[in-house]
């Protein structure tokens, strides 16, 4: 009786082994951005973030601050207001400031949780010439 009731389990195990791991246990990570991290770019009207995993939209928080201006490297961090929109795939986000960014150094910080429920976050900087 035990043997016959276990055969579906064996089939399950076999399929599991065949499908193999590739376990998508990954926390959400920033995989790319436009402008890229540490890039020097000419004109920026929006900032795009691409993530490795689908994000839970309500957990997403982003911040854009200007940390430097030409001739004033130690500019006190100044928050830039922007409108944000999640991409249709749930893995990307676009921050659109009201005006194109003036020359300076900018820092983007984000926090969000993916389907694995872990809250993640990171920051990167770029320069507008």
């Amino acid at each position: 009786m035990i043997k016959s009731s276990l055969s579906p389990l064996a089939a399950l195990a076999a399929t599991a082994l065949a499908l193999s791991p590739t376990a998508a246990l990954a926390h959400a990570k920033l995989v790319a951005s436009t402008p890229a991290a540490n890039a020097k770019v000419a004109k920026v009207t929006s900032v795009q973030l691409k993530f490795s995993e689908k994000l839970v939209a309500s957990t997403v928080k982003a911040e854009l601050v200007m940390t430097g201006m030409p001739g004033m490297a130690d500019h006190p961090p100044m928050k830039i207001a922007f409108a944000s929109a999640m991409g249709k795939d749930g893995k990307s986000m676009t921050l659109t400031p009201k005006r194109a960014l003036v020359p300076g150094i900018y820092k983007v910080t984000w926090f969000a949780a993916g389907a694995d429920t872990h809250r993640m976050g990171s920051a990167f900087a770029f320069t507008v010439k």
Partner: protein, 303 residues
Amino acid sequence: MTDILMIGIRFLLFTDLMLVMGLAMFLLYALRSTEREDVRIVSGLVVLQPWLCGVGLLVSLGGMLALTASMQGVAVGEIDPNMLVSMAVETDTGKAWIVRMLALVVATAAAMQLGRHPRPAALILSLASASALASLVWSGHAAASEGPAGTIHRIADALHLIAAGIWIGAIAAFLILLRPASDDGRQARLDLAARSLEQFARVGTACVLVIAATGLINFEMIVGIAQTGQMPGSSYGYLLIAKLIAFSAMLLLAACNRWRLAPAFAGATSEKTAGVIRRSLVLEASAAAAVLALVATLGMLEP
């Protein structure tokens, strides 16, 4: 801090739901219908059930609040209803939580009927608590696997939890039946314990086989059998090895009960033999608690 809170919540939920389900199923597979209606025998097995269900509801609610707060990066007091709604709509973990809460409401109602309609109530309680237990699959690593592999991972994980719950609930049931209490139901309880301990061999063997097979599947999905050699390099690896050691201790004690203590107890049902087997069961329950504590921690760690 958050992690310790979440680990505690996971431990309580695993233990609580496994006890509810395991004790309810014990009424079905171990007791004859006359025994199920004998208050002196079943009162110990059923009296805690509504409370255990209530604890399950409260801890599950607390768990969702703590998880939402950590995902949103706010304090528990700052959670607003919209955040909970978005958890329920946007995440599988949230949907599983709703299923768990509904299942626990049904379980609570069934638990309160155990005295009046023992068999149907135990049946509904078993099914509802098994659903609640299976929903915990979405609060661990199995939640993150995608596609068909993810489905298999979650089925395996659910079976793993249910088989473990049947075993752990049975340990609790035997301890309740063997408790030292001198009333007129004592002898009937000891006789039932002696008989069901001997009968448990089949159920127990099936549980162990299911646990081992599904455990292997989970391991393949989370770590990968090919990566076994790297296990002793991470805290996940150490804790998993510790879990396997505690599990082996449970197996050894169970084997000792099955082949030595249970036959001796059935042959001569006395205070002395009951005491011996009770001590062995307390050790087995301690090992089970260690396994659950380790599982609660492992689900929070990176493999």
